[in-house]
């Protein structure tokens, strides 16, 4: 049985991870199917005076906000931004970080040192502050730019992780055996890639939660994706002032955020345990 299938087996018996995975899957499905599930247009303001701040009820399952927009629909559409940013930025960050780390791990000491000192400097930069500054100056920043900027400031950790992993594997006997067979650098890389793949999957899954929180934080501060496009962050911002009068406006995106982050973190932890080669026997 392949190590991947073994890992799958271990993952399947980990209840927390399965719960996280199922929840993450449902959230992703709901997000994709938002146009089908949402009872209303998230931007539609049918009657900004008469229908504003309605509590949850038959017509609007999660009530309406200050502009009479349907909160459920907005939460569903808001998930699109959160998940798109989370998934794509995490994927991008891990690919870049993995690539740099892999290259550094296999390079000559001089190149390795150069790359890693660069990463050290980058890690010292205050990420949130940097993003705040850029978004504050860049009005109407497109979603793609948000994703690129978040990914571009978030790949350093994974590059160090992958480099350390490659370094430790490089001295193992199976790599020495491959070299003794005549394998060159590419041959050694082929031996190591699947190992690094496992590390990257864990890295990416755990990153998704962090990035979703980061994006929500930025939106909450009024940066990044701009209203009226709903994001969980700007929805919470809008609901903030009515927290006592109409708590559902902030609570719906807040809880959605909580469940999503917890789901991806549980899944990530489970994956880490399942893919850990020290547990594979």
């Amino acid at each position: 049985m392949s190590p991947w299938r073994l890992a799958w087996r271990r993952l399947r018996v980990n209840r927390a991870a399965v719960a996280g995975g199922v929840l993450a899957g449902l959230i992703a499905l709901a997000t994709i199917a938002a146009p089908l599930l949402a009872p209303a247009d998230p931007l539609a303001q049918p009657d900004p005076v008469g229908l504003q701040n309605l509590p949850p009820g038959a017509g609007h399952l999660l009530g309406t906000d200050g502009f009479s927009r349907d909160v459920l629909s907005r939460t569903l559409y808001g998930a699109r931004v959160s998940l798109a940013v989370g998934l794509l930025a995490a994927l991008l960050a891990v690919l870049v970080g993995g690539g740099v780390g892999f290259a550094a791990g296999l390079s000559r000491p001089a190149v390795d040192r150069l790359l890693m000192r660069g990463v050290d400097v980058a890690l010292a930069l205050p990420r949130v502050f940097l993003l705040l500054a850029v978004f504050a100056l860049w009005e109407g920043v497109p979603l793609a730019a948000v994703i690129l900027l978040i990914a571009g400031t978030g790949w350093f950790e994974s590059s160090r992780l992958v480099r350390a992993h490659v370094r430790s594997l490089r001295d193992s006997d199976f790599v020495a055996a491959a070299r003794a067979l005549g394998a060159g650098r590419a041959g050694v890389a082929r031996h190591l890639l699947p190992h690094v793949g496992a590390t990257l999957i864990v890295c990416a899954t755990l990153d998704i939660g962090n990035i979703i929180l980061l994006e929500a934080g930025l939106s909450y501060l009024g940066l990044g994706v701009q209203p009226p496009t709903p994001t969980w962050g700007n929805m919470i911002l809008e609901g903030k002032d009515l927290l006592f009068a109409a708590p559902w406006i902030a609570l719906a995106p807040g809880l959605a955020l909580l469940f999503t982050v917890v789901a991806f973190n549980l899944l990530g932890d489970g994956l880490r345990d399942a893919l850990d080669p020290r547990r594979a026997r």
Binding site: S2, F174, A176, A177, A178, L181, G182, H191, P194, P277
Partner: protein, 324 residues
């Protein structure tokens, strides 16, 4: 008129490592420190020594998995360290290595089939169906079934993995295999199976072995010629019968006396060595063994002058001032 298959002359491998609180000092580990020997075709040299004596580094240097500091290694007349990358790669076909830990020496994320096939592909010895058939043949030769092809290392026991490692080495049809403690991690009954397999392969393929082990009994079993290594140097080399029946070097004598024999009726006098082996960073002056030596004639010469190997009997050489 062919020379020896492997001719090692004054080989030395030193490592430098950083020491001190901030890594400001560097120190030199003299893992292998001037070793010469030859191995003929269809021949085995047994190499015994305790941990840290440099035997594993020696094996790896001979295959150029580690770069040497000085000396030379000639394989079939060619200077291994003068070879360019392409020539070295061709040479790798002829020399292989089997490691101690069969769990670490197979990639856990690669099937046994792919592991055995790797050498065939690198050296373009077989492709496609022919390669598939060859892999099955090789597995069969080491006593593994064809079903091993699609299975992963973790599905096998230590002994079976070590067979797979041997099959991987055989794939390129080598002349020489360095066996670095190949049975030390295995259970008694399994170790015997692997030792017999190595003997059969040698008989069938005319292989040469460098057989490295800390276990003197195992080395006696496999090697007609034995070298004893201490602190990076050979202290005694000779025919196995000579070394085991008439050890000349005090270290060899102590080593042999320390091995427990599975026979309660033979009670031998054990020579207990004082203290631990010195570090290869700061080898003692004079004879490397002198601080632990129990020889009754030990004197100032031993602490001042390092003894060279000298021939005391036919083909039996000892590095000791006092041995006779």
């Amino acid at each position: 008129m062919t020379g020896p298959l492997l001719d090692v002359r004054e080989l030395a491998t030193h490592f430098t490592r950083r020491a001190g609180l901030f890594g400001t000092r560097t120190e030199t580990v003299r893992a292998v420190n001037g070793v010469s020997f030859t191995i003929g075709r269809h021949d085995t040299l047994g190499l015994v020594g305790e941990s840290g004596c440099g035997k594993t580094t020696l094996a790896r240097t001979i295959l150029r998995l580690v770069e040497r500091t000085a000396g030379e290694v000639r394989f079939d007349g060619q200077d291994l360290f003068a070879l360019g990358p392409a020539a070295l790669r061709r040479m790798r076909r002829r020399m292989q290595i089997v490691f101690q830990d069969p769990y670490a020496s197979l990639n856990p994320r690669m099937t046994i089939g792919r592991a055995v096939r790797e050498g065939l592909e690198i050296h373009e010895l077989a492709r496609g169906d022919a390669a598939d058939r060859r892999v099955v043949e090789l597995l069969d030769e080491v006593g593994l079934g064809a079903d091993a092809v699609t299975r992963y290392p973790h599905e096998f026991s230590g002994g079976q993995r070590q067979r797979a490692v041997v099959a991987r080495a055989l794939a390129v049809d080598p002349d020489f295999i360095a066996c670095d403690e190949p049975v030390s991690a295995l259970d008694v009954s399994v170790a015997a199976q692997v030792l017999n397999l190595l003997a059969d392969l040698q008989a069938r393929r005319g292989l040469s072995y460098l057989f490295v082990s800390h276990d003197l009994a195992v080395v006696r079993h496999v090697a007609p010629r034995v070298a004893v290594m201490y602190l990076g140097r050979f202290v005694e080399v000779g025919p196995a019968a000579e070394i085991y029946e008439r050890p000349k070097h005090p270290y060899t004598q102590a080593l042999l006396s320390a091995v427990p024999v599975p026979d309660p009726k033979t009670r031998r006098a054990r020579i207990i060595l004082a203290g631990d082996p010195p570090s290869p960073v700061h080898p003692p002056p004079g004879c490397p063994f002198q601080p632990r030596c129990h020889h009754p004639l030990k004197d100032a010469t031993c602490t001042a002058v390092r003894p060279e190997l000298r021939e005391l009997a036919a083909d039996h050489r000892v590095a000791c001032h006092k041995a006779d």
